[in-house]
Symmetry: D2
């Protein structure tokens, strides 16, 4: 199976590496070529353009920053959709809004290309350790045909329904992630102001069932004021934006998520865009 | 040990009953006397007034609806603080704001009465099954002197610090509770609009670590549209109000909690005050 | 000058009629043909499609519901951009986001068609009475070439800058409109709960300089519980959405506008989409 | 008529001076004595304590920072309510919540003292120029008995109803003030990001009826980045807090006001508490 891979950021580079380790031959593309160095040293081929990356592959993965980036590389005269073989499969693992996935599915179909949205649950470390969970929208039989690939990169790939349904579930999960950390941050921040110490606040809250378990992983960030990016704040804010945008499209109110999106947006505006998203604690806590 | 107990609502009645089952003799008071019937049949004494309930007891528990109710029964010429013996102990298990607990501690002290704030984590069922967690503010030695009482009503009593610190931790927990359900509700509600079915949404979200485990208990509410009150929505909204009010007092921003408080407030205004707090899902979902 | 006009809703029908009264010959198109009846009786020509409406006209106006509707009728193989003559002028008076106007300007340019965004300030009555204010983005000389047309429909056409700048100013104005009514509604609603009567609340507030003068026009809505649509709530909510979306695109926080958007969104979800936008008062006030 | 005056901040000092200019003899008190210097030089008497200020006066004015400050100086064994003569009149011009005014009215009554809440609309300059508008709650005949005093300090004193109704109207006005500036700031801030210049944004918005006229006074703040306090941001945030707190007390949703309160709260937390409240523009605009 010939595989193309576009997008070698924090997530994509690790996913591609696991495919490579699993024995697959990759043709890779990334805006900044240097991020492909390690993959190339280990035998991957460099595709000089998105178009080239999509040419003569059986499966093309994309792992890009936002819907705009996906559309730019996919569509248009030099887009990879014009390069891909009939009946080949495009798997988009970027986090996008479901209506965007549906639109891509439909454009792919016009080009006789199969499409799956397969965003992931899990960030840097699960990506490195092949522990990702893939949330898949598209044809069940298409998913079954590439399970061996998902097995190299993750622990499971769950079929959520038709095209767009993987993206749907993904933005639901990231909405909860964003809310969890922010609600926890407000709680700890007020706790400290009420005279409790930071450690006690976190210890007690993490023992109660009202706190999302994932915070066990992130608490060290807050403990140590360490906001080196694992999952950049601007990306989490983008996901909250996709959630509220989808709410608007479908006429569904999302008052809490909009509020959360704006708090992350303020933090982003105050120079925290490229810190880890857990820096929202720092935003609330800092006096300047 | 002679024990007074004021406030026999959903929580207080069950707590008092567990003390009674544990062999303690109680003198009880409640605004609506009928709620004391079972306790009286099983041997409790009726105190005709809060003043009477506080008279000649070693320990007085209060489990009331809000700070206003506590202040009304405690202070003033006919309040129980004027009735209690020197050096006796008042334990307030109501959910109140920390500065209120501190003020009550100080008024109690002027009357030579010891004070502890000991709000609980857990609602109707844990109260019935003596599985509550007490979050205690006050003197450690005072807590140690009544551990046997807490043991009858709960699984643990944790010393959080000086007076007010129990209340501090309590409003932190309930803030997370309120946010968790609301964020989950927004997620499931949008998921359904995106074409996923309700059960799938909840199944998948509850398997991921971004969802607070307590939602496993509450999901049946949403599954079954069953909002018979266990923890009334108006009480949860009150707790969010106490959290934001404390934020204001201490100059700490609480943007997400204020947003959540207002969503519950809208639900309360639309005739849902006395439904279970999980009815916030219904509020978001209903078209009228 | 031959003029095409697409979009004959509350606003468009009145604008077109004023052009007609001013002596211009129109070719008109609307999804629902019956809305064109009066214009046709008075001499307008029916264009069977958007394509037809754009053919052989010097100027084409569009007044549509949202960016999606504009894009659908403009672009694509059967879109009016494929029908319009070289160097003819497309004037989009729809309320859209500035980046959308910029994109349309650029697509028009590729087709050698001139473009102006010229959204209006003013609703039903000013449209009928030719009292609209046009906020224009595009080439100054293009604006000057069609001032006679704007004069028939409005009191002024102000050049705001390059393409997109008219749309920019428009969403700023409608954001303030939406906020003004909502803030005023919250104030009056609380005033009534505090024991003041509705009329006193409105009389006093309207005498103070903190209240936007436009509310003098809308207060009768609230006085009389009359929410027959003049400017439908769903359209105002769309404009707030365009504002927050543009904020997201440009990295600018819009916390208050997001909150307002969600309140209107809740009202929309509760069956008020097609009422006048001032029904947000009713949403806050109703108990069910 | 003997007059006491407590509270000589930005507002109180100017109001007292106008009474003095009008020929009234004042007994004054302020926490920081130096602020009374000018009044004392011009003939006022220094009252060493709030108690002293209330003794043997016919009318006592208070103009204090918040309800807590009023309660502290009024009630308690050394409070001025214990010093005031029977049937004398206490006029509280502080901005407080209506339920607080009602409570003060009732405590005053127990002491056989008449009470009026008479907060003002207008800030520093109108205070200096005797152009304030008094919003009065209490007995109409009490208001009529002191119209000559209000005439020295303001342009009008309007009877709003029973005790508390002046405070009710006041928080409604300040809620609109806070929202107006914040909504305007979001608009101008986004306008600049969309490529319009600051001056154009403000010029155009101020010409439209969606903008509150009071912004004409404040725009120079934003033009000149001049946030020297006229009406400190922390005081405006307090007023929004009083508004939302009253909403909570009465079961009225205030979603937009809560959002506004939190934005000002974030600005307050970021070292802007003592700047003018118009600095909320700076908060939104600054990148750090």
């Amino acid at each position: 199976m010939k595989i193309g891979f576009i997008g070698l950021g924090i997530m994509g580079s690790r996913m591609a590496e696991n495919l490579q380790k699993g024995g697959y031959q990759l043709k890779v593309y990334n805006r900044t070529k240097s991020k492909a160095d390690r993959l190339l040293e280990n035998g991957a081929t460099w595709a000089g353009s998105p178009f080239e990356a999509g040419k003569n592959v059986d499966v093309l993965f994309t792992m890009l920053e936002n819907p705009g980036a996906v559309e730019e590389l996919a569509c248009g005269p030099k887009g990879f959709l014009n390069a891909m073989n009939e009946n080949s499969l495009w798997i988009d693992s970027s986090t996008v809004n479901p209506s965007f996935s549906e639109r891509m599915a439909s454009i792919a179909k016009e080009n006789n290309i199969r499409f799956m949205d397969a965003p992931v649950s899990g960030s840097k470390q699960p990506a490195a350790e092949a522990e990702l969970l893939f949330l898949v929208g598209g044809e069940k039989k298409d998913l079954d045909s590439v399970r061996s690939l998902f097995d190299k990169m993750g622990k499971d790939a769950v079929h959520m329904g038709a095209a767009g349904k993987g993206s749907a579930m993904k933005i639901m999960i990231n909405q909860l992630l964003g809310q969890s950390i922010l609600a926890f941050s407000e709680s700890v921040n007020l706790g400290m102001a009420m005279g409790l110490d930071k450690k006690t606040c976190m210890d007690v809250l993490l023992k109660t069932p009202v706190t999302a378990p994932i915070i066990n992983i992130y608490r060290s960030r807050i403990d140590n004021n360490d906001y080196e990016p694992n999952f950049p704040l601007k990306h989490l804010q983008k996901d909250l934006h996709l959630f509220t945008e989808t709410g608007y499209e479908l006429g569904i109110p999302t008052p809490l998520t909009s509020a959360a999106k704006e708090v992350y947006g303020l933090a982003k505006h105050k120079n925290m865009a490229d810190l880890d998203f857990t820096a929202v604690f720092k935003f609330l806590n800092d006096k300047n």
